[in-house]
Symmetry: C2
Subunit: 488 residues, 2 copies
């Protein structure tokens, strides 16, 4: 690396200047023990001084114990220092003097922090958790190696703004067959995940005062996001057939956020008639629907219901797909399917958020390997495997609840990775139960965490407990529920 | 994959329902020629009908020519269809009927579009272009393979919100030694690049009416970005010593955007005294500085100047680093160095933009391999190589200009990948020259593209031509300049 040194060529003793500045970098902790120094030739070229000057400065630093040279390997900062008064502590201490509170555009949701550190939870029925051990790593590695061998300039090249063409073609074919969504690859924009897609959609549809209808209970981070764009959130209740469409706001140019295949977090499916009403509402109020399809692939029974996008005849729906549930959130690839006239504005919005240059925000390698993963059928095979595994865990959880608690009221879990349990009337509230369980080092979840800002609703929602099952072994599930029952 | 079929078990002829729906998927183009159908057993499980029903439906479709079965490999959609009236054209045609204009939060910068398609430009002196052929692909591949072998759950796991710890440690050490920035790994947040970092910074500091001081000429996409957050952009002129600090706005709680090491696009370095004045201005007006260090590593002479961050004693500076110039924009990894009290708010802002879940927006693999690339010294070696290559191209460009044009007035190019040429008074304007050159299929650039909204400034800026050199071979540079001279 080039060291941050500045030499005054007109001043005396260049060698001393080099010595002093490298010494300064070492004692201030900027140059860390074990760090490799640049070669004497490179440094002399950088500073415009003779190589001999650098050699002499290095020798002095070495004789004083700050540097050590390793035979044939170069010069390094010593790992043992000449004096103990050395302040190797790093970090700008002066920064600590400045503590002006920051007025965030949106508040930090600190109430989402747990009262018990996650490390102390031994059995966590966490929501939106999946089991990374199910992922076929060796297949992914093989596909990665194969792509790396033919990578040429793709690794560092900016690529196209919509994302890898191949992947968009594969997704268009996949969506046609598995979701009934008819779209061209040009209507697809690859993004880093659902959250980025929602930001793009917010850029397209939301400004100060725009009404965003959201399912309640719903995804609070999504409500926070839309609020950051100045939206007014209109919570719309959810029943056993999904969002209660007669409560949709009637303001014009609005937005509705919908998880139609499986409402998050209640797990219910939007009924066919409500699908039609929701689409009509969008047309009549000149509004748009942002449809997020998060975990439809993790389906245990029946066919996935038709997405709103597949029924959309007026270009009102932006469909957002994700691999966070099916592959894992670490992949960082998602996609949007847009009506044709919204594609260019969406690409522009994405470039404001992420790209800057005309390139996609997702590295080429992840896009290419994901394409091959789908195309070779490995994704399908993986889905079959996790469906089987997660279904066994779901059944184990239901059986454990019946065994240890007795009769339990549970929303059907045809799809997804958690169940919603309506607590019996004589049970303590969900929030109390959560606190009780935390003392047992068990993580269970309530609808409070999914509150999107409707105070009335909060009072009624305390009768539901949410339990994620996909990331836990059957043994852990059995043990967790048995502890839960004992603590009651 | 699971097909999007819906079976009414109470209705007659299940087999006919399956037939009709698969037929519908094929003729509507949703299920494409060559697509593999799910196995009969899997489909019968999905739909809850007998396997025989599926087999019979498949057989009918096969006999009618819609499907073909390949020995031992399953059933596929035919690549040759039974009738020519088949509409295989995909894409929702109905979407085309809806063409309501979209009111974007910010305007699409369509004036940035070229009048000649890029494919017709044979010699493009594009700005911010580097040569992907210089990148050590085999080293990167080796490091990737090595990381893949030990990947375990990292590939799909969400990771930590700030980014890979190892990489943040490596960056902290690198920044200490090469930039004189003293920071801990905890002050670093990994992002997908400069653009995402700017969005995070905008969330922290910008709301409706906030004054953002920007160098003029400057980076227009950055101005667009801040405007999208409601900022009022205050253009501040740039001279040979960088941003003219006496023109900084005096409003409180403002922001200044600074490219201190090498002003973009003028290529000048911010003088030491102005660095101090800029930092004092931030303190006195309760403002923050967003410092973007884009291409300091590509330095041909002398040491890089100390970043504002290394001189910041009051936590006023957010430093943004990138690998887009040194490695390539396709990598999609950048980072922010924040004062300690701003780290948590920045992580929260980043989670609104991208993460959603508590995880970083950059895939693990890119972070891990980048870490190894820096740690093993391969990055340093790569930098030495591109410095040499790009310096030769810079020198070739200057020589070609002198040879074909004569005496040329050029800002010093100690650093970076383009030069700024002040046209002689008798030359046509830069914009005219650009049009002239496009007819010769040569891309040259003007300050108009870097206009951040100061109309007065525009009249004076037409005497500068910008020429990027890093991505062009010496032969191409010589040829391009010779054509330029002939066209004059």
């Amino acid at each position: 690396m080039q060291l941050a040194l500045e030499i005054d060529l007109s001043a005396a003793s260049l060698q001393n200047q080099v010595f002093k500045q490298i010494h300064g970098l070492i004692v201030s902790g900027r140059l860390k023990p074990g760090a490799r120094l640049p070669g004497t030739r490179a440094l002399s070229e950088q500073l415009g001084v003779s190589r001999n000057t650098i050699i002499l400065a290095y020798e002095t630093l070495t004789s004083e114990g700050y540097l050590e040279s390793r035979e044939g390997a170069g010069t390094y900062v010593s790992t043992t220092f000449p004096d103990n008064s050395l302040s190797v502590a790093s970090g700008s201490n002066h920064d600590a003097t400045y503590h002006k509170p920051v007025h965030l555009f949106v508040p930090v949701a600190d109430d989402k922090k747990r009262s018990v550190p996650p490390s102390e939870i031994v059995c966590d029925f966490a929501l939106e958790s999946t089991d990374p051990a199910c992922f076929p790593r060796s297949v992914w590695r093989r596909l990665t190696n194969w792509r790396m061998q033919s990578s040429k300039f793709n690794l560092t090249y900016s690529g196209t703004p919509k994302g890898l063409r191949e992947l968009r073609e594969t997704l268009a074919a996949y969506l046609g067959a598995s979701r009934g969504i008819s779209c061209t690859p040009d209507q697809i924009v690859i993004v880093t995940g659902v959250q980025q897609a929602l930001n793009v959609a917010a850029h397209l549809f939301v400004r100060a005062g725009t009404t965003v209808a959201m399912e309640a209970p719903g995804c609070r981070t999504t409500a926070d996001l839309f609020r950051a764009y100045g939206a007014h959130i209109a919570p719309v209740p959810v029943d056993q057939s999904g969002i209660v469409v007669r409560h949709l706001p009637q303001s014009r140019n609005g937005v509705a956020f919908a998880t139609s295949a499986r409402q998050y977090p209640m797990g219910v499916m939007l009924s066919a008639s409500r699908r039609d009403i929701l689409l009509n509402w969008a047309d009549q109020t000149d509004s748009h629907i942002i449809e997020v399809d998060f975990d439809t692939e993790i389906r245990y029974q029946g066919s996935p219901p038709p997405p709103l996008k597949s029924l959309d005849t007026h270009g009102r729906v932006v469909y957002v797909g994700s691999f966070a549930a099916s592959i894992g959130p670490g992949l960082r690839v998602g996609y949007m399917v847009l009506p044709p006239h919204l594609v260019d504005p969406a690409v522009h919005a994405a470039s404001l958020l992420d790209h800057g240059f005309p390139c996609t925000g997702v590295p080429w390698l992840e896009q290419a390997v994901l394409n091959d993963f789908i195309e070779t059928g490995a994704f399908e095979k993986h889905l079959r495997k996790i469906r089987k595994t997660y279904m066994a865990r779901r059944d184990c959880l239901i059986l454990a609840l019946q065994k240890h608690i007795g009769s339990v009221q549970i929303n059907p879990v045809h799809c997804g990775t958690h169940l919603v349990w309506e607590l019996p009337p004589d049970f303590p509230s969900a929030v109390k139960l959560q606190t009780l369980m935390l003392k047992q080092q068990i993580g269970v979840y309530t609808l409070r965490d999914q509150n999107i800002g409707d105070a009335d609703y909060l009072e009624n929602c305390d009768r539901y407990l949410l339990l994620g099952f996909a990331a836990l072994s059957e043994t852990a599930i059995e043990e967790g529920i048995s502890r839960l029952a004992k603590a009651l």
